[in-house]
Amino acid sequence: MEQQGSVEGAVLSLTDVAFAYPGEGEVLHGVDFALRAGERVAIVGESGSGKSTLLHLAAGLEAAARGQVHLTGQALAGLDEAARTRLRRGRVGIVFQSFHLIPTLTVLENVMLPLELATDLSAGERRERAAAQLEAVGLGDKGARYPEALSGGEQQRVAIARALVHEPALILADEPTGNLDSRTGETVFALLLEQARATGCSLLLVTHSHELAGRLDRVLTMRDGLLQSAGSTEAAPA
């Protein structure tokens, strides 16, 4: 059931959202934005413009100072840390710029982790699904290795597998190619897009690259804490 303030049919919606880090000025100044089911949107902008912050708010990693964030129809405001975490782990997959794989777990175990945290699957089922997901990103033979034994591109592919394995409604990707060379970045980006399409999940991607952004359904620009349509000075339509 949709809650008040939530945009109908949206996987993610932000309404008049503002945010400031402790001791600093406002980073976001009243952002309105909605992401529909299956939609793939890119946010571009200068460093420090607030695009990653928007992603963190969408994931519930930070709480908005003002306004409403709804994730799959559920308002994040008023939820405590644990409730936000439960919501995130079931419905969101995150891909970070610097991979954030757990170095003490093997590649397969890293991919199994969201299943362990978010589902009631048996150990065997978890292993099976994780292995299939690794196969899907082309790393089926690397499951027993530790992340440090993989190249940067391979590590990011593992991160994509980990973000998708529990079939979330939304993938949040923060500069997923930022730590990779252009050729590897291209491959990883293509894989991310392909997997998102294959699973039908929504994708919100933050990037510096206008070229990559242009390959998504919609491109928004973050400038001085405000979200604008690419090439437009108007706020993006909800």
Binding site: H56, A59, L61, E62, E81, A82, T85, R86, R88, R89, G90, I94, F96, S98, H100, L101, I102, P103, T104, L105, E109, M112, L113, P114, E116, L117, A118, A123, R127, E148, R162
Partner: protein, 846 residues
Amino acid sequence: MSLLVLRAWLRDWRRRPLQRLLTLVGVIIGVAVVLAVDLANQSAQRAFDRSMDEVAGAATHQVLGPASGFDEALYRELRMAGWRDTAPIVEGPARLPDGSTIYVLGVDPLAEGPFRGAASDIGDVPVQRLVTEPGTILPPVGWFRDSGRAHESRVTLEAAGGAREVTAIDRAAERDQADAATDEGGGSLWVTDIATAQGLLDRLGRLDRIDVRLTDAEVDVLAEALPAELELVPVESRGQAARELAQAFRTNLTAMSLLALLIAAFLIYNTQTFAVLRRREVIASLRLVGVGRRAIFGVVLLEALLVGVIGTLLGAVLGIALAQVLVAQVAQTVTDHFFAVAVTGVTPRPLALGAVFLLGVGLSLLAALAPAWEAARAAGAGTTGRGGLERRARRWAAWLAVLSMALLLAGGGLIVTGAGALVGGFVALFLLIAGLVLLLPWVLVWTLRGLAALVRGVTLPRIAVRSLERSLSRSAPATSALTLALAAAIGVAVMVGSFRGSVEQWLGQALTSDLYVVPAAPASARGGARLPEDWMADLVARSGAVSVSTGSSQEVVSERGLVDLYVVRPHANWLDYLPLLESTVAREALGERLATEDAVLVTEPFAAHHDVRPGDRLSLAVPGGQRPFEVLGIYRDYGNPSGTVLMTQAAFVRAGMPPDGVGSFGLRLPAGVDVEAVVERLEAWLAEQDRAALVTRPGDIEQESMAIFDRTFAITHLLRVITLVVAFIAILGALMALQMERAREFATLRSLGLLPGGVRSLVVLQGGVLGTFAALAAIPLGLGMGWLLIEVINREAFGWGMDLRLPWDEVVETVLLGIGAALLASAIPAWRMARMRLVPALREVP
């Protein structure tokens, strides 16, 4: 070195004060414990030496007789024979109303001139009063100040002669000048006139010794001239055994304090490594702008120097305060076992302070060397990261394991060969400790790998365990610190428990009578006090005793110096109860031979100190010269750490030794008799006698003995607690460091959906794993330390053997304490990690 570089480095103190505080605490506690034990030891040693010197004065030799003393007429005869440099002495311990033990020295001020300055100035008013006013006594000057008594006050002293009231005169007040400096305000020596001392110590008409000053040529002449029952002995031979034993006791304490310092070193190393790792960005940036390796190395060491200096200064202040507590305990132990000493204060010696300063600062620098080297190796950003360090740590763990084997072999070799005696024992102990501590990282790696394999498929425990293994440079030193502390606790528990159990068992065996009648005197004075032998018939008549034993101690001259001789007239089946360790004779034949031949038994400490074996002969001075006695066996005894020679009354009399009264009567009562009624009858009869005596039950003696025992080891318990506190701080620091370094991983887990409670569980699980490992590793190490303390160190130090008893309840308690401490230490980082803000942690450079 650039001031800006230094500033860039040291500003971290403001950012992370808790980490710096932990380093400081390590230095402070380590330094404080070492200094406190050293000061307490030195103060007790000075008090002991001062007391011995005051008692001996400037004499070169002493004329000694039986324990009950000898006729004072002998002194007059010596003087008349032309021996002018002589001074008669009556001496012994007494007890003050507050329970403290003092030493009464009865002198003849007229003869004291060449001997003791304090009691020789007959022109001095207070000394004159000793002669002219019976019942006056000169306490140490500091006593008036400490007790708050008036300058002249009546004091009741309890000694061999019973409780007597005397007038204590303040020497300084009488002289109208404060000369406390010469008396150092302390001491336990109370000087009085010989007549007063004779009354107090139950020596009417008798002397304990005569001090003499002799040239080398005169020694033999006087020895020849003395009556048969008197012996001439050099002054140095008296107190030597007590001096050596007190030294052994202090060595034990010093070793304990060094262990605390070693554990503190782990803490310092841990926090210094962490300080460097936390600032790897600063190091990388400094290197990038051209700061050289030497400057980086220097700045880390400079910081360590600063921490060392501040920590040592604060540790010195704490150490001096702690010494005030410890010194009373050390002095009490010396008084209980060796000689009555009183220490009124702790005077830090510049040399001790200097040594501790060097130790504290040196340790801080030493602990910072490896981190400084790591920092200097860094060429740019990321190179000082954990990955490289941890890989090196794992490599080092294997090499350290090889080194540990060498140390363990060396330690084992020392134990097997027994080389180096007591010092060798301690070296072996430290080699074994060092060997096992160096082995721990390697064992920890494989244990964690095994655990990780066990929890394969259970993701969170696997993360916890693997993360510990990957942070070996952090987890190994903390675990070592905790293991050491717990092992020391177990080792001391095994040693004290075994000792206590053996003493209790021995008391049960030694106290074979139902009641004892002993002179009314402090426990430490009873050995020399005597009761009339003809009381025996009256005691039997009033108690209905079926058997009466007697025993009395005295010092006799042997070819091995002055020895303690215990003369017994035992109960019929006494040998059934005697804890005989070795004998050349069957137990059944032993009683007969001891009664009919020139034969003795010796205690275990005596055999150890004098290297005597069954079958050896021991020459004792008897009237008419030296007489050899065959040592028939060695028995266990904890009564006298210097050792005792046991002789039957029959052999004693046959050897022509003069009858010497009775030190104690032991009464065996008929079965079913009302013991309390017997006690009442005996007490009523004793009250009518002119000698003060007490009726005591074996239980009372056991209680008093065990109280002395517990006082002796109270200080080791205190050190144990301090050691555990340091280890707790070490593991707290390590876990905090570990979690802070893993903050990014925790943030990732949280972003993937791990709840705050899950993070808390993970951190607590890590604490639990480290604590359990340390506790389990501490069991074999602790038991080994306990065994070494019992079989090597205490045997070498005191000559006491004891049965190894494993106090499992204390071992289990210590293990649980270790695990509990680690879990408690993990509570703070768990709470911090669960509450951390995720986004800043996610942004941290891996």
